[in-house]
């Protein structure tokens, strides 16, 4: 090969690298290659240092949920034709990925009660700030009003971005006493681009968005709903049905799993009339030269590879394979399966809440919830979580972890109960909590 190239050594191919920057040998201070067995062993030993959700009574939620993912999902996403394909820029040999995206977009749009969804974003939090940005472009206004029930990490991301884009954010800390629907409605003015509300909220509460949507509409602002637990929409009304203009969400509940925070999948849906302001890739139907139906990536004049500095977003790589996993799981469930799954989650959560709220000094903060609720404990919940973990129970997310400096919230413990939680798991949590609180 070097003969064809006309070079004496491989090193000669690196002539453009200044001699001072060219390393004579392997980068110093790093180990040399290792065998497959050695690498596997290394990871197995690190994996053992973690408590896996499936090995313990497990009740964490707050933006990431443990659901049972049917075995066929992981089998199918590991097919090399899906796993090792690129973004479908050559549609004639990417109809598999493209048809999946078209089906995915339709599933997400229907679940959220919207006209159209994109082919995925990185995760729920980035989808959320992209939605705020999109509302700003549509309304040409700069003020976003964020519900106190929006996940604090999502608020944090929006604050980071707002600092650089010059958007103005109106935020508040949640209260165990009730939601801030009145504050939201009261804060909408002629400068407001959007109101962002999580549904169900970070404490698990569910609230009708119709009045808020009407108030937004009257003021020319957009309503953005954030869904961090899409399974809930098998049991409760879709935000789009209540008038939300943009619905975004975290889709890891379906098909993707916990994965210590990523990769996850941002869901993004809106009304037809706003489609040209959407971020991210879109797949659309068309025909080929023989008139056969087929799919392509479309409306790319919104995107960075065409529009460069005028693009609606800088996103390029998204969460394609997670979209596939989400879509397969949703196809396996179907309408009936999703509704049954949601009913099972809700029933288990209600029974668990009833039992736990009977513990001495413990009360339930929610008037409504789907599969996640907030308990108010007789002492700060943060330490309780660590004591529960020491007893082998992964017992929820403390509000102290989510809102470290807010003393009014420090007794709050957010507990998620999904279909994977058994009767025995609830017994274990109840017993451990009783001991820790005694």
């Amino acid at each position: 090969m070097l003969g064809v190239i006309g070079a004496a050594t491989v090193d000669d191919l690196f002539v453009d690298v200044p001699a001072t920057a060219r390393l004579p040998g392997p980068v110093p201070g790093l180990p040399l290659h290792a065998s497959e067995m050695a690498v596997e062993r290394h990871f197995a030993s690190l994996a053992r240092k973690n408590k896996a959700a499936s090995d313990h009574p497990f009740f964490l939620g707050a933006g990431a949920y443990k659901h049972h993912v049917p075995a066929s999902v992981d089998h199918l996403i590991q097919r090399g034709e899906f796993l090792t394909a690129y973004t479908p820029y050559q549609p004639e040999i990417a109809q598999g990925t493209l048809q999946v995206l078209f089906e995915f977009q339709t599933q997400v749009a229907r679940l959220f009660g919207c006209d159209v969804a994109n082919a995925s974003m990185y995760d729920g939090s980035t989808a959320c700030w992209e939605a705020i940005g999109m509302a700003g472009r549509i309304t040409r206004r700069k003020k976003a009003v964020l519900s106190s029930g929006l996940h604090p990490h999502y608020v944090s991301v929006a604050k980071t971005m707002a600092r650089f884009t010059g958007d103005q954010l109106d935020t508040a800390t949640p209260s165990l006493g009730g939601t801030d629907m009145d504050r939201l409605i009261g804060a909408i003015d002629a400068e407001t681009s959007c109101v962002v509300v999580q549904y169900p909220d970070v404490l698990g509460r569910i609230e009708d968005l119709s009045a808020l949507s009407a108030a937004c509409q009257a003021a020319g602002a957009l309503l953005i709903a954030v869904v961090t637990e899409p399974v809930a929409l098998g049991a409760i009304k879709a935000p789009g049905e209540m008038g939300a203009d943009i619905v975004v969400g975290e889709g890891q509940s379906l098909g993707v799993g916990l994965q210590f925070g990523g990769p996850y999948i941002g869901l993004f849906a809106t009304r037809d009339k706003y489609v040209r302001q959407m971020p991210g890739r879109l797949c659309g139907e068309t025909v080929d030269a023989n008139g056969k139906r087929g799919y392509v990536l479309t409306l790319s004049t919104r995107e960075q590879h065409i529009r460069r500095e005028k693009a609606t977003s800088n996103i390029c790589t998204n969460s394609g394979l997670c979209a596939l996993a989400f879509s397969i799981h949703m196809t396996l469930l179907g309408e009936r399966g999703l509704r049954d799954l949601a009913a099972l989650n809700h029933a288990k959560a209600v029974l668990a809440a009833q039992r736990l709220a009977k513990l001495p000094g413990v009360c339930l903060a929610n008037e409504s919830f789907f599969n996640e609720f907030t308990l108010v404990l007789p002492k700060p919940a943060r330490a309780v979580v660590h004591e529960l973990a020491a007893k082998g129970v992964l017992g929820g997310v403390s509000l102290g972890r989510l809102y470290p400096r807010v003393t009014e919230l420090e007794h709050g413990l957010v507990i998620a109960v999904t279909e994977v939680v058994s009767e025995g798991d609830i017994d274990a949590l109840e017993a451990a909590l009783k001991e820790v609180l005694a």
């Binding site: 090969m1 390393l23 040999i93 500095e309 790589t317 998204n318 179907g334 799954l341 209600v350």
Partner: protein
């Protein structure tokens, strides 16, 4: 069954067979057509078997769902068939050479998949108490150590979710650093050859994007750049190796000049694959660089994602790195630095970019790739990638125009143009012709700085035999384009679909299935 009678041919009525290659089902042996889930599923079929919900009162308030959602279900066997059939309409690196320039389609070792699926990694929650996730934090810490050492930088921000998100991280760090100095510099200089994410990112962060001119050798014109530097320039975004597949020999001089003028140097590290283990960007004066783990370190592209875009930072930018990040305590234990302790640990952090702490599933895969190769193997990755690209470049001399071929060797990718094609023939025709030859086309029409760009990145994965077959195919297709073979215009002939009408798709967008709505 699936496509009941696509051709509408009714032999039972005595109708004779239609055209020679038509079938009753529309399928052709192993080429199986597959309709949409909305056309083959229904609202009552399900492929899951759930426990029955126990009796319990409702706590949904007035919000219980009443309206149908419109989600079809399939049984498990139907589901497996649906997606298996669809998968067979995809090209993939598992099927063959995938020379997509700038995208680095290399083999994805399956050990990495196995490791990512160990339950201690895939089945842990991002908010678990830290004493229950020490192994997961150790993976992040260990990968961070490799990335910092391989690049010779000061620190790394692990949370960005892909390359473009990493660019945003680096640019926000630059903006925060300027703010800390009380300076409001407005301009970021970006070469015309840059990937679209570069200008899109800079613009999102509120910067004005200005072009850096290139010289005849396809590199940044150092003198012109120096002339433009000044108190309004926040920094430069330079891709190295650049998107023409060329190393920027003046990068150190560029960095020195930018620093002297008070700016910062962002390096787009999407092409790090060409120099990993051979060159440390830190030695070239770079302040921030994203690394696409889904390119250089082989986490699978998955049909468009997910990726992961950690950003290595210089000492000057490290104080502004985002939250959260993993910190090793004096006792050796690991913890996440979040908003709570940012005041003490990282007071100048520009904040959080994403809900949790990055792409764990990509970290495990990338680290498995890195440990398998080691410092020696990674160096060889770069060498083999560069060797393969130069072999392609020189093997096509006299067939395809290589605009920068005169300037010496390329790095990991070879750039060609459509110069010399017959009237009416374009790069697109060559791409579609390659499809019929059983290859995924190269990147086309990028970078924008040459006419009809074809950017070929073979990666280190390919053997000489595989390269020779590809080169032969590309040579034959290129010659057809030069001779004006009309049959090339209608390629692909053998793919699951012929050329698709992209104009129609954009003019009348159909972005969701509405078949049931139209009928009802």
């Amino acid at each position: 069954m699936n496509a009941p009678n696509a051709a509408g041919w009714r032999p039972e009525l005595g109708e004779t067979h239609l055209a020679g290659d038509e079938t009753f089902t529309g399928n052709r042996a192993l080429m199986l057509e597959e309709r949409l889930i909305f056309e083959i599923g229904d609202a009552t079929t399900t492929g899951v078997d759930l426990d029955v919900a126990p009796a319990a009162p409702s706590m949904l308030g007035s919000l219980a769902r009443t309206a149908p959602i419109g989600l079809p279900g399939l049984s498990e066997p139907e589901t497996v068939r649906h997606y298996t059939r669809l998968s067979r309409q995809n090209y993939a690196i598992d099927l063959g050479l995938f020379p997509l320039g700038s995208c680095t389609m290399k083999h994805n070792p399956r050990l990495n998949e196995a490791v990512a699926r160990m339950k201690g990694f895939k089945d842990v929650h991002p908010l678990q108490p830290r004493e229950t996730v020490q192994g997961a934090l150790a993976v992040i810490d260990e990968l961070a150590h490799w990335l910092v050492t391989l690049t010779g930088m000061d620190s790394v921000a692990m949370s960005p979710k892909a390359g473009a998100h990493g660019e945003l991280c680096g640019i926000l760090a630059i903006k925060a650093a300027l703010e800390a100095r009380g300076e409001d510099r407005k301009v970021i200089l970006v070469p015309e050859s840059a990937h679209g994410t570069n200008p899109a990112t800079a613009a999102f962060a509120g910067f004005t994007v200005e072009n850096i001119p290139a010289n005849d050798a396809g590199r940044v014109d150092l003198a012109a750049l120096q002339a433009r530097l000044g108190p309004d320039v926040a920094g430069v975004m330079i891709t190295n190796p650049n998107t023409c597949g060329l190393f920027e020999p003046d990068l150190k001089a560029i960095s020195d000049a930018v620093h002297a003028a008070g700016g910062y140097v962002y390096c787009d590290g999407a092409n790090f694959n060409a120099i990993v283990g051979k060159v440390r960007p830190g030695d070239l004066g770079v302040d921030a660089m994203h690394i696409n783990l889904h390119k250089t370190f082989s986490t699978p592209h998955g049909g468009g994602g997910p990726g992961s875009g950690p950003v290595v930072l210089s000492a000057a930018l490290s104080p502004f790195a985002p939250l959260p990040y993993v910190k090793r305590e004096a006792d050796g234990s690991l913890r996440l630095v979040e908003e709570e302790t940012a005041g003490e640990d990282q007071p100048d952090s520009f904040g959080r970019m994403v809900a949790f702490h990055g792409q764990m599933g990509m970290f495990t895969r990338a680290l498995a790739y890195i440990l398998s190769h080691g410092a020696d193997g990674l160096k060889q990755v770069a060498e083999d990638a560069v060797l393969n690209a130069n072999y392609v470049l020189r093997s096509l001399e006299g067939v395809l125009d290589a605009p920068f071929g005169h300037s010496g060797p390329c790095m990991h990718e070879a750039l060609f143009t459509d110069d010399g094609f017959a009237e009416g023939f374009s790069t697109l025709d060559v791409a579609k012709g390659l499809i019929d030859e059983g290859f995924h086309p190269m990147t086309v029409y990028f970078p924008l700085v040459v006419h009809g760009a074809m950017l070929v990145e073979p990666t280190e994965t390919e053997s000489k035999a595989a390269l020779d077959q590809f080169i032969g195919a590309l040579r034959s297709v290129a010659l057809r384009a030069k001779q004006g073979d009309p049959a090339l215009k209608s390629t692909p002939h053998f793919a699951p679909r012929r050329r698709l009408d992209e104009t129609l798709a954009a003019r009348k967008p159909v972005l969701a299935w509405k078949g049931d709505k139209a009928e009802g």
